[in-house]
Amino acid sequence: MRHIISILLENEPGALSRVVGLFSQRNFNIETLNVAPTEDPSLSRLTVTTVGDDRVIEQITKHLNKLIDVVKLVDLTEGNHIERELMLVKVKALGAARDEVKRTVDIFRAQIVDVTPSLYTVQITGDAGKLDAFLQAMAPVGILEVARTGVSGIARGDKVLSL
């Protein structure tokens, strides 16, 4: 099963490599990885999506918790949560396709953020499924470049991941 694990990590040099290294060292899987500082400059928030059965996920969270630089973590998939990814896509936009792309962008509630005579740069947010569907819809038109951030997520309701 797919799990989304969010981690509060010491904002220290090398901390990220310990997390990433752990996954390769122990033969765990990383599907996406997203990391940025938080409102507390001493902490980064790292979100990783991974796939494994319960035993593997238990090992992943235990080993992550063992890392000295990991301050706190939560498996978001254990409860209700919001999951988002941001994607920037350059698509061909020539002739009749130009309108077609615009319509699809509207349907997906995406935005065109840059324009040239021959292409659109589209920004879209959503869960992984929505982004995949958008790419599928754009494939016939011609996708030139894709930049995805990887999943970021947060729990629904009162639950808060903080110190």
Partner: protein, 574 residues
């Protein structure tokens, strides 16, 4: 307020931390630190002949004493030479702090002379690592390093120190930090009371229980408690290789050690048990054999200070995260005043175990006949007699390691010093050196083989420099015995590169360093040679014992089998 340079802070910190010996090898990036060590006399630096030996020596000391060992190496090759020793300590959860010189900060990343990203190189084999970024943080970082190395599940910690951090010209305030705080590191101090209660209830109701305890009991200093608990219950106990001596092996309740080359009765008892009480052990593949066939009728209680060790390879029915000592003490107080529920079943269980024991009594190996080559097993038995079972025994890796563990009887923890997890050839001799320096009045013997010994024999020179009187028992079968055994069993005796054509004359080699060597060829020469070797505690003596090259280590678990599936000799199997 005291102003010290980074280098002087390191020297002073080590004094304040109570470090007596530091093992190392100088080089460019570490020279400021070496100069600071030179200008004081409390911390004694031992100059090894290869950095790997420094880590093994510190490791040996750590295993024998239960305190963190300390190593100092320079950048680049100095640090990379230490890697095997760091990995050795990591696999066996041994507390160690390794201080590595590094090129000056402004050169990092430029492929400077003797530059290696040692924090990167060692990342998967350390408990944690630090890079010093300002001299003023040295005392705090070092305190954290020692704290992390020696608390919770212990392990090696690397501290990377760029040369400019130790420059003599820059001085900062030094205060020895008595305490450290790490917001993300709070090792558990006790187990969950409810879980412990549940475990004790199961223990009292068990009909075929076995204690299975490991290195965690030794490093967790819980041997006394364990002995009390096991004696109170009257249950059988088997230990891992790393846990040997945590319960006295000469006691009837001790079945020896378990796993690939463990005792017949241990492996049989594990396979037939209805309850396994695992404490400070990690269900390692050399213990469990095939996990899907592991102990089919047993419920499992698993106590470990490291939650990630629990249910890693074998699912625990009652997991208890906590230090062995406090959990055992709680168990003792819960057991007191209660009787076991099924005394008759336990009597039956012991009859069964005693039957397994009797089955193999006197059949473990065939002693040598007059005129034949010595059996390695009888050498270890003689060694045990001559040292009254009280020596610190270090080993290298291979057949001799298994024989030492099987035939020397350990009644105390921290006495068998062996690389169990990583299986590092070359470990034994430098480890013995580290122990002997710290315990000069005890017998310290390295049981080795001619293959392993040649990996670290340059340390004879270190022993000469510091007058280290270790004894070396070289079980010389002129081949890499364990490799050869596997080739006999799995490769139709095609001995690919497991035979050394050109062994040195060990006698001459040892004498070249000014030490005594004795060659032993026959059984009647053996005990006198051992007596002679151990006559003077402060003299290094090397026994080159020529042993039967055809001998195999048995029992040996059958690959992919259950615990009980064993080869018992070249012709028998269970």
């Amino acid at each position: 307020m005291e102003l010290l340079s980074g280098a002087d802070m390191i020297a002073r910190f080590l004094q304040d931390e109570g470090i007596e010996y530091i093992y190392g090898y100088p080089g460019g990036a570490a020279l400021h630190i070496y100069d600071a060590l030179f200008r004081q006399d409390k911390v004694k630096h031992i100059l090894v002949r290869h950095e790997q030996a420094a880590t093994h020596a510190a490791d040996g000391y750590a295993r024998a004493s239960g305190k963190a060992g300390c190593v100092l190496v320079t950048s680049g090759p100095g640090a990379t030479n230490a890697v095997t020793g760091i990995a050795t300590a990591y696999m066996d959860s041994i507390p160690m702090v390794v201080l590595c010189g590094q090129v000056a900060s402004h050169l990092i990343g430029e492929d400077a002379f003797q530059e290696t990203d040692i924090v990167g190189v060692t990342r998967p084999i350390v408990k944690h690592s630090f890079s010093i970024r300002h001299p003023s943080e040295i005392p705090e970082v070092l305190k954290k390093a020692f704290y992390l190395a020696s608390t919770g599940r212990p392990g090696p910690v690397v501290v990377d120190i760029p040369k400019d951090m130790t420059a003599p010209t820059e001085r900062y305030e030094y205060v020895y930090p008595k305490k450290v705080k790490l917001r993300s590191y709070n090792p558990v101090t006790r187990g969950h009371t409810g879980q412990i209660k549940k475990a004790v209830e199961m223990m009292l109701k068990a009909k075929r229980p076995v204690f299975y305890t490991g290195g965690g009991v030794v490093t967790g200093k819980a041997s006394e408690g364990l002995t009390d608990l096991v004696k109170q219950l009257g249950y059988p106990i088997t230990t891992t290789l790393m846990g040997i001596g945590a319960y006295p092996q000469s006691d009837r309740q001790c079945l020896g050690w378990l796993g690939m080359h463990g005792s017949y009765e241990s492996n049989m008892a594990m396979h037939h048990a209805d309850l396994i009480i695992a404490i400070g052990a990690r269900f390692d593949d050399r213990v469990t054999n095939n996990t899907s066939k592991f102990c089919p009728t047993a419920k499992i209680i698993h106590v470990d200070v490291d939650p990630s060790s629990i249910s890693k390879t074998v699912r625990a029915d009652v997991p208890i995260v906590g230090p062995a000592s406090s959990v055992i003490n709680e168990m003792i107080s819960l057991v007191q005043g209660h009787n076991v529920a099924h005394p008759e079943a336990l009597t039956e269980w012991w009859e069964k175990i005693d039957g397994w024991r009797a089955d193999r009594e006197g059949k473990l190996y065939e002693p040598s006949k007059p005129g034949e080559a010595l059996k390695p097993q009888e050498v270890i038995e003689a060694l045990c007699r001559v040292t009254r079972g009280e020596a610190y025994v270090t080993t290298d890796v291979g057949q001799h390691q298994m024989f030492a563990a099987q035939y020397y009887k350990f009644d105390k923890p921290n006495r068998l010093i062996t690389s169990g997890g990583l299986g590092t050839m070359g470990f034994g001799f430098p480890a013995a050196m580290g122990i002997k320096q710290n315990y000069p009045d005890d017998d310290v013997v390295c049981v080795t083989g001619e293959g392993s010994f040649q990996m670290m024999m340059q340390e004879l020179s270190t022993c000469k420099q510091y007058g280290v009187g270790v004894k070396i028992v070289n079980l010389n079968n002129a081949s890499l015995g364990m490799v050869r055994q596997w080739q006999d069993l799995n490769y139709k005796s095609r001995h690919a590169h497991s035979y050394m054509e050109s062994l040195p004359d060990f006698h001459m080699l040892i004498e070249a360093y000014g030490f005594t060597a004795i060659t032993v060829n026959t059984l009647d020469e053996l005990e006198p040679a051992l007596e002679r070797a151990f006559a003077d505690k402060h003299e290094l003596v090397f026994l080159d014992v020529k042993v039967d090259p055809f001998e195999h280590v048995y029992p040996m678990q059958v690959p992919l089998g259950a615990m009980r599936d064993m080869l018992l000799s070249k012709t028998e199997r269970t």
